[in-house]
Structure formats: C-alpha cells, structure tokens
C-alpha cells in the first residue's frame, strides 16, 4: 500500500478498531458566558501517543487542555481518562500533570524544592523524594543548578525545571501548554527532539497545545487541527499535509496554492476541472462524486515545476504565466508566477546543484506544471 509521507515508527493504534482510547472527549462543550470556546467536540487519544492540538489563538485548544487538567469544567459532555469519568474530580486529584506556558515555577523555592513539591503533596518518604529529584535533575541535565532559585536561571533552564517538575510524579498523561513558546529557534528545535525521546523512553502519553504547525508536525504522532471550538481534522502529520480534508486545514498547514474551477467532465476515474482559459486540472476522482460542482484543488509549492519549455499536454495540469518574483533561500528557491487570470502561484524547487546555467529570471514567460495526483481535491 502506498503511504503518505514517511512513517516515523510503527505506532498507529488509531487504525486498530479494537484499541481502547486512553483519553476520550465525548461531545464536550465549554461556554464562557455566551462565548462557545469548545463546541460539541469528540476526540480520542491513545496510550503512549504524542498528540498535538494545533490551532490559532482562541480556537479552544487551551480550554480543552485545561478541562483535561481540571481547571475548567465542561458545560456539557464528558471526559474519560483511563476508563474513569473525570467529571467533578478537582485538579489535585487527577493523574495528569501540566507544563505551563509561563512555566509557573514557584519563585520562592529552589529548583530542588520545585521538583519535590508534587511528591511532598503525596506524602512520599523523604529519602524517596531525594532520590526521585536527583533522577529528574539528571534527566533534564540540571544537577549543578539544584539549589538555585528560578530567577537565577536562564529561559532554557527554567523550561527544563518546569518539565522535570511536571514529570516527577510520573503522571499518566503529561499536558504541555505551548511549552517551547518562550525559547529561541535553535533551542526550540533541540528541545523538540529531546521531548520526543523523553516521551518514547518514559512511555507516557503527551498532549501538547501549540500554534506552531512546524512544532506539531515535528513532534506529534497525530495532530488535531482546531478552529472555532471544533476539530477540523485529526490525522498524522503526513496526512494533514498531503491530504487535508478542507480548505481551512490545507491553508493552515504549510504553504498551499488553491485553484478554483468548475467540474466539466469525469471519465475513467479522472475528473476535469476548468480553472480558466486554457487551464484544466485532471485529477483522480477519488471517492468524491462532484460532477457539475465548483471545486478547489490544493497543491503544495514543492510539487509544482517551473520551466521555459512547453510541457506535453500543454493546458492539462499546466499553464503559462509570468515570473513575478524569485526568492533565493539557500536550500531552495521560491518562485511566484502570475497566471493570466491574475492568480499568483507559489512554486519551490530544491537547489540540488550549486550553480544553474541560465537560471529563470524576472518577467520571463514560464510554464508551471504538476502531476494530477500531486494535489488534493477539496470538499468545500
């Protein structure tokens, strides 16, 4: 079977109908006054999954996380965690721990005391606490900073303390609220991989909230793309990127070109969409019965070729345009081509060679072309 994108590891309980979800949101609605933050949302998360809630601010992702942690109660619907309905369970009795966006370290306690806080609440014996704290400090490589206070640490170190503190109690689920937002780019990338390794090693379920799609794509097994309190799509990063189920998801994740046109014919499993004068898209029909309707076709920039030569079948999955803009980014070059109907198309190509003979220039007439199955038909 042809698979979308690369597979990170063979872990896909969501494809197994007999697998029991570890966390279930069932028709959860949360209203603040008249504002509906989460709207009749249902979602399953599996044991040992690294799950990302992705969306712009105000989409309800943080509210969902806070309901799981117990800081907010759903207006209706229920949340099941490991077979137990969480309704009415206060945050301090839930087997989940959260890493806060602001880190929320206790400013009056040393690093050690911060990490030990949760263990003390459980009444763990002192020697066991010391042992666990030492183990946690080692895990986040902060052994030398045990007796410092939070304000004596750099941003990256604080982030590690927050992580160690939330992992110290070995929760069933670790919730991460924009955990890397305050770090600079390089540190963020390093930490992403460390978090993934950690999650694998500890065998925990991670639920992360982020607005950074790259972060979600890098770390998560599955992503739920959210907007306006609803889930738009739940799928693996590759599926979300290569087969978005809606215009919103296609547009939200990565760069995309969307061609709108009218379906003119379908034959032999192929669909023709007339986009404009001399430009028809011919794509596999898939499981969509869409004859006679207006449809969008979404295609990523890296799947579009740009050249001076007229491609075969000119006009089918190809169109002539004018080179409008060229951005050289080092690893790749991005071309913006303006079509006769005024639409601009973004195409990118990898700079596999160090130098190119007679490169494409501004204001040149060029052809863009792509394969019919390189894009995806949109339902809306």
């Amino acid at each position: 079977m042809k698979s979308l994108g690369s597979i990170r590891r063979s872990f896909a309980p969501w494809t197994d109908p007999s697998a029991k979800p570890y966390i279930s949101f069932r028709n959860v609605t949360k209203k603040f006054g008249t504002f509906v933050a989460v709207d009749d949302l249902s979602l399953d998360i599996y044991h040992r999954e690294f799950f990302a809630l992705l969306g712009a601010s105000g989409c309800g992702k943080s509210t969902l996380l806070r309901m799981l942690a117990g800081f907010e109660q759903p207006t209706s619907g229920e949340i099941i965690l490991d077979g137990v309905n969480m309704a009415g369970t206060p945050p301090y009795r839930r087997p989940v721990n959260m890493m806060f966006q602001s880190y929320a370290l206790f400013p009056h306690m040393t690093v050690e005391k911060n990490i030990a806080f949760g263990l003390k609440q459980d009444g763990m014996p002192k020697n066991e606490i010391a042992e666990r704290v030492a183990q946690m400090l080692k895990l986040v490589k902060l052994e030398k900073f045990a007796t410092r206070k939070p304000h004596q640490l750099s941003g990256g170190q604080r982030q590690r303390v927050a992580l160690a503190r939330s992992l110290a109690k070995r929760p069933k689920v670790l919730l991460l609220d924009e955990p890397l937002g305050a770090l600079d780019k390089k540190l963020r990338e390093e930490t992403q991989f460390e978090l993934m390794d950690l999650q694998q090693d500890l065998g925990l379920t991670f639920v992360i909230v982020t607005h950074d799609q790259e972060e979600a794509m890098t770390m998560a097994d599955r992503i739920a793309v959210m907007s306006a309190g609803k889930v738009n799509q739940v799928a693996t990063p590759a599926e979300i990127y290569e087969a978005p189920n809606s215009r919103f998801v296609a547009d939200f994740i990565g760069d995309v070109n969307i061609f709108d046109g009218l379906v003119t014919s379908s034959a032999n499993g192929m669909l023709d969409i007339a986009v404009g004068e001399g430009f028809t898209i011919r794509t596999p029909i898939g499981n969509m019965d869409v004859r006679g309707a207006a449809r969008g076709f979404a295609i990523r920039p890296e799947k579009i070729r740009v050249s001076r030569e007229v491609p075969p079948d000119a006009g089918i999955n190809s169109v002539k345009g004018e080179m409008w803009d060229i951005a050289y980014l080092g690893d790749m070059t991005v071309y913006i081509v303006k079509l006769p109907n005024g639409q601009t198309v973004k195409a990118s190509s990898l700079n596999a060679q160090r130098s190119v003979e007679n490169p494409l220039g501004y204001d040149e007439d060029v052809w863009i072309s792509f394969d019919g199955d390189a894009g995806v038909l949109l339902k809306d």
């Binding site: 806060f100 206790f106 949760g118 609440q121 304000h151 004596q152 750099s154 170190q157």
Partner: protein, 272 residues
Amino acid sequence: MNRWTSFNKFSITLGFGFLYLPILLLIVYSFNESKLVTVWGGFSTRWYASLLENQALKDAAWVTARVAFTSATIATVLGTLAALALTRYTKFRGRFLFSGMIFAPLVMPDVITGLSLLLFFVAVNLDRGIVTVILAHITFSMCYVAVVVQSRLLSFDRSIEEAAMDLGATPTRTFLQVTLPVIAPAVVSGWMLAFTLSLDDLVISSFASGPGATTLPMKIYSQVRLGVTPEINAVSTILVTIVTIGVITASIITKRREVQRQRDEQAAFAQG
C-alpha cells in the same frame, strides 16, 4: 538638565526646609539643658533621663505598643483576606461597590470615623478602653493593608497556583505554601503601614479611648496643652528615630534584594 543652578538650590532648600526644619528644631531642643523650650541653655541629656522616671509616659508608650501590634496584626489578616476576595472572585454582583467601599475609609475624615465608632460603641454598650482603641485602629488600617496587598495580587501570576494544584496541593495547601509566601513582602509592608498608622493616630484614638487606655500621641497632646516640656521633645525624638531606622532598614533591604536579583539574572543569562 543636570546642573546646580541657583534656582535649583533655592527650590531644594525651600522644599526640604519646609519639611524638616520643624523636626530638626524639635530634636535640637530635646538636648536643651534649659527647662524653657525656646531658650538654648547648653547641651544635656537630662530630659531623656527624666523620661525614664515618667511613669505616665511609659504607660502610654506601652499602651501604644500593644495597640499598634495587635491592631496591625488583625488588620493585616482581615485586609489580606479582603484583597484576596476582591481580586479573585471578580464575578459577583456589586463587586464594584464593594471595592469602592474598601477604599472609602482612606479618604474619610478621621473625625467622622472616630465619631461614628464612638456612637457605635455606645450603642452596643461596649465599655471604652484598650479593646475599643484596638477595634478602631483595625477599622481604619485594614483598608490600607487591603490596598497594598491588592496591588501585589493584581500582578500575581495565577498559573503558579494552578501549578500547585496540578501537582496535588489542595486549595488550602496551595494558599499556605505558594500564594502566601509569594505575596509575603506586600503583607509585611501592609503590616508595617498599619503599625505606623496606629502608632501616631490621635483623633480616632481620642474618640474610642476610655480610662486606662491613653496612647502616647494622646498623652503628648494633653501634656502640650499644659505647656511644652523638653521631655515631650525627647519622647518625640525617640519616636522619630524609631520610624527613621525602620524606613531606612526597609529601603536598604529592598534595594539589596533588587541588586542581588539583577546580578543573579545577569549571571544566569551570561551562561546561557
């Protein structure tokens, strides 16, 4: 801008002279040998010595100390609770009215506060004495505490309380182990403010006081009416000294902590 023009010098002299000349005069004359307050008769500490034998003044000082300590402590507890309620539970009806009402006593004339308290004590048939003075002082000083603590709570990061609960601390433990230690500096300055206010209150104490509960300011005032003695100067000088030491100590501690904090932060960022 940063120049000592003669105008600047004049302004500074005038301003500080206005503020401190009377106090300076009071201190100088407390070391006066002469019994006459306005005539300098040479340096002496005899009025400080005679102060030690003045039982009435010593009693008044003891009353003041007890009143200030007790009322400041109770006012701090009540004021802190009020501040917590007003900053935390923001969604009840009439919240605006309540938060306005907690500030009102700040601008209420002392005479009105004193009179209303007196009428209240009479109405509930409470014998006036040290208890009524303490109650009166709590009444006017708790709103100062509430204001100080409230301003700290407004910049308080609530997520650390959520973090504590998330880690298994019940609301009570969260308050005792996280909230209170973090707002402690504001609570302490609230207490100090309440203590100072109680220490020098004259008007409200006069209304609320009864036999055997004469505070130091009341005593000083009543003695002055019979004529100012250098003894009064001496006791006032002691009060000024205590307050000055308190203020200087507090500001040094604050300053040191700030400097230390900045140094720590710089060190932390330098090592990445």
